[in-house]
Structures are given as C-alpha cells and as structure tokens.
Amino acid sequence: MRPSSIRYYFKEGFTGLLKNRLMAVASIATVAACIFIISLSCCIIGNLSSVLKQIEDTIGIAVFLDDNLDSEKINTISDELKAIPHVTMVTYISPEEALDSLKEEWQADDILDGFDGENNPLSHSFEVSLEGIEYQSDVLKGIEGISGIRNVRHAQSETQILLKLNKVLSIVGIAIVAILSIISVVIIMNTIKISVYTRRTEINIMKFVGATDWFIRWPFIIEGVLIGLLGASIPMAVSWPLYTKIVELIYQYFPVIKGIATLLDGYVIFSKLIPVSLIFGVLLGVFGSVSSIHKHLRV
C-alpha cells in the first residue's frame, strides 16, 4: 500500500459517512439504539444478581447448644465453629437476646411476658455466617462433629430457592442478553446492508475502472469502524450518567433497599461494558460493511 492510497482510504472512509448522511445517521442510530438496550439489560441483570448474592450472604446457620453448658465450653464450641472451613463469622446469642428478638419479631411482647429471666425456655445459640450459600452442606457436616450441640437450624428451603434463583437468573440473564445481541446484530446488519445496497452502483463502477477488491473494501472498513465507534460511544456516554442518576433516585425514593443490599456502582458495570460495547460495535460495523459489499464485488 502506498501512502497516497492509505490517505485515500481514510479520506474516503470519512467523507463516505458525510456524503451518505442519511445512511450514516440511520446506521449509527441503529447501532446506538441496540447497544443501549443491551446495556440497559446488563444493568438490570447485573444488579439483580448482585442483590441476590448479598441476600445469600445474610443467610447463615443457627446452632442451638445443650442446656447447662458453662461459659468455657461455650467458648470452645465458638472456636471450633470458627475453625470450620468457609465459615466467615460466628456470633454468640444469649437466651435473653433470643427472647428479645422473638418478641420483636412477633410484635407482641405481652404474650411472651411470662418467660423472662429464669423462666426463659430458650437456649444459648450461635449465628454462623458462611462465605457463600453453596458451602452450607460442607459447613453443616463440620458442625455435626462438634459436641454440646442440641440442634442446628438452617434455612433449608430458602437456600434451595436462592441457589435455584441464582442459577435461573444467570441462565435467563445470559439468554436475554444473547437474544438481544442476536436481534441487534440482525437489525444492524440489515441497516448496513441497505446502506451498502444504495451504493452498489458506486461499487460496480469502481470495479469497472479497475479497482481491486481491497481498494474498494478499505474505505468501507474505515466507515464501518466509524459507525461502530460512534454507535457504541453514544449509548455509553448516555447510559453511565443515566445509571448513576437512577441508582440515586432508587435510594432516595426507596431507602429501605439500603438495608437489604447496595446497588452496583456505575464503574463496576461500565468498566466492563464500555470496552465490550466498543469492540462489539466496531466488529459489527466492519463485518457488516465487508460482508454486505461482498456480493457487489463479484463483477
């Protein structure tokens, strides 16, 4: 390639966009719209799975001890629990604390008034937190080996539901993003195909004055890169600030969510989404252009 040709390719690539403004705007708008929808879905799905993860992390195992253990034995059990792999935290709950929280939960103190002090039928217990809900059965096995434990309570069904939810969400999430991506590819390719179609005579003429396939292709490739870059930059430029604003609004309008989980920071999502979108956009632009001109080159 001579330098004059390279200059020509770039000049043509840029002026191609300017001269075929309707096509350029249409292609860029289409790419932008599609990538915007995909990034919207990624934000929603990403947050759902992050919230789910945070909820999972709050699910621990309650360990009830035999009656009449002395505080030394209780300490030993606490240490033994902490030693089990994947256990992140072990919290001691005295019978009094247990009764208080029971009263609170029921919102009816008076019913349980008779059980205060010596009458308290509840036992000493530990709240065991795990690294992840998936380690529950391992930890349960570890707890079995410890003596002085009367009973273990773990959220069997909740765990199952959460584990399944997790799986479903990741499958559904991937499926939705995949479907959207495929649809976007179809739409974007269509747009580019039409845009090239309107220039088929131009391509034809070039062939007839002796241009090689690559001479014709290069400007289209550069045009494709520009369409992809612009089409991917616009939704990214819009959706990051938009996302930050929406998260703010949710917290404000809906403060209770702070107690349950925190939403993902824009940076976490967009530090991955931006490069992926740009690459996706550029590849689509290039591939769309090149594959569309292909059949017009066969003359």
């Binding site: 004059s4 040709s5 131009e202 070039m206 007839f208 004055v209 002796g210 241009a211 396939d213």
Partner: protein, 228 residues
C-alpha cells in the same frame, strides 16, 4: 492485441447479444463498431472488459485469455482498458475532478502526478470550468466528456468508447473524435462504437458492422454504409 474468437453471448432471459463473432484487432489500430440499435455493439464491449462472460468462444487480450482468467486478475485487465460507457457510469458522489482522479487513485498513482495530470486532461475535453461540479449538475454532453476524460487519464494501451458523441453537438463531437485520433496516433489501440455517420464517413478507418449480433461487414478503410 485483441482477439475475439467465435464468441456468443446469450443473456439469461434468452436474448442473444452477439452470435459467433470473431474479430482481430492489432496494436495501434482505430476501429469503429457500427450497426443499428440492439445489434450487439455494447454487448461486445462488455465482453471485452469482462463485465459479461461469453456463453461460448474466447477472448484474448494482450495474450491473456480473459475467459479463463483468475478473478483477482480482472482489475489489472481493466486497467489496460480505458472505457467510455454508453451510460457514462460516473460516481454520483464525486465531482468531475474526483471522478477522473479516482481512475488514477485506483492504480495507486502518486498524488503529485494526479494533481498534475487531471487539469490537462479536463481541458483536453473542454471541462476545465466544470471540475468542481457533480455529475447531476452537468449537461448530458458534459457527463459524456467526463467519462472520456476518466478513460484516457491513465494512458491505457487500449481505449474503448461506446457512443462517445451521442450527446454531443457536431462540433464538439468532431473535436472529441480528433482527440481520439490523436491518442491513437500516439500508439493507443482505439475501439469506438458509434452511430455518428458523418464522422465514420469522414475518418476512413476500419469499420466493423454488426447486425442482429453477427458481424456482417469488416472493411479496412470505410464509411458508415459504403456499399450495402
């Protein structure tokens, strides 16, 4: 230089473009293709430039059999042929200057040479004032002359012109023909399909007459309808 051997072209819809045509053109010749409308002149030209492939027979240009040519070599064949199309085929998004420059960019001429040659060629065809106009801002004859300028700018060894004066007044047409003769004198093989009786008669060059796809006459120094 150009050898057309028993070439037949039947279009997909069954129309017959040319039938069993054979013709030899030597380097440096000046040949007119004449014949009534629909007799196959454009078809023959399209076969030469490999816009169409013959249904039968073969075409050899510069000792290369173009009928059995690798696809990737076609552009290089076309660079040997300067072609003026009957329907002009100008790039609508480029100005007159750019349309002509394009033919030079295709063969990767250096920009300095492009800047030097184009004004010369545009004034040869009388379009120096229209360099910045787009094809849809030109009259019919101006478009035709742009197409001619593009065909000759690279000094191709073979120049093929399909009806290069159909939209020109007699004076301009005559100027253009003189230009073609001039180019021919410098060694270029020139093939012109035309209906311009006066010009063919005046120039007394080789005349090949087509009728219904057949060559019915081929005279060395002839007029539009010498005998017949």
């Amino acid at each position: 230089m150009i050898k057309v051997e028993n070439v037949t072209k039947v279009y997909p819809n069954g129309a017959e473009g040319v039938k069993d045509v054979s013709i030899h053109i030597e380097k440096g010749e000046f040949v007119f293709f004449i014949g009534s409308s629909g007799s196959g002149k454009s078809t023959l030209i399209k076969l030469l430039m490999k816009e169409l492939n013959p249904t039968d027979g073969q075409i050899v240009i510069n000792n290369i059999n173009t009928t059995r040519m690798k696809r990737s070599k076609i552009p290089f064949l076309r660079r040997n042929l300067g072609i003026v199309f009957q329907d002009f085929r100008l790039l609508a998004t480029k100005t007159v200057y750019e349309n002509v420059a394009f033919a030079m960019q295709v063969i990767e001429s250096p920009s300095s040479q492009i800047r030097r040659n184009i004004p010369t060629v545009l004034s040869l065809v009388g379009l120096q004032d229209k360099a910045k106009a787009y094809p849809n801002q030109l009259s019919g004859g101006e478009q035709q002359r742009t197409a001619l300028a593009r065909a000759i700018v690279n000094n191709p060894p073979i120049l093929i012109a399909d009806e290069p004066t159909g939209n020109l007044d007699p004076d301009t047409a005559w100027d253009i023909m003189c230009l073609l003769e001039e180019i021919n004198k410098r060694g270029t093989t020139v093939v012109v399909a035309t209906h311009a009786k006066n010009i063919v008669d005046a120039m007394q060059k080789r005349v090949v007459t087509l009728k219904d796809g057949h060559i019915i006459r081929d005279v060395r120094k002839g007029g539009y309808s010498d005998e017949a």
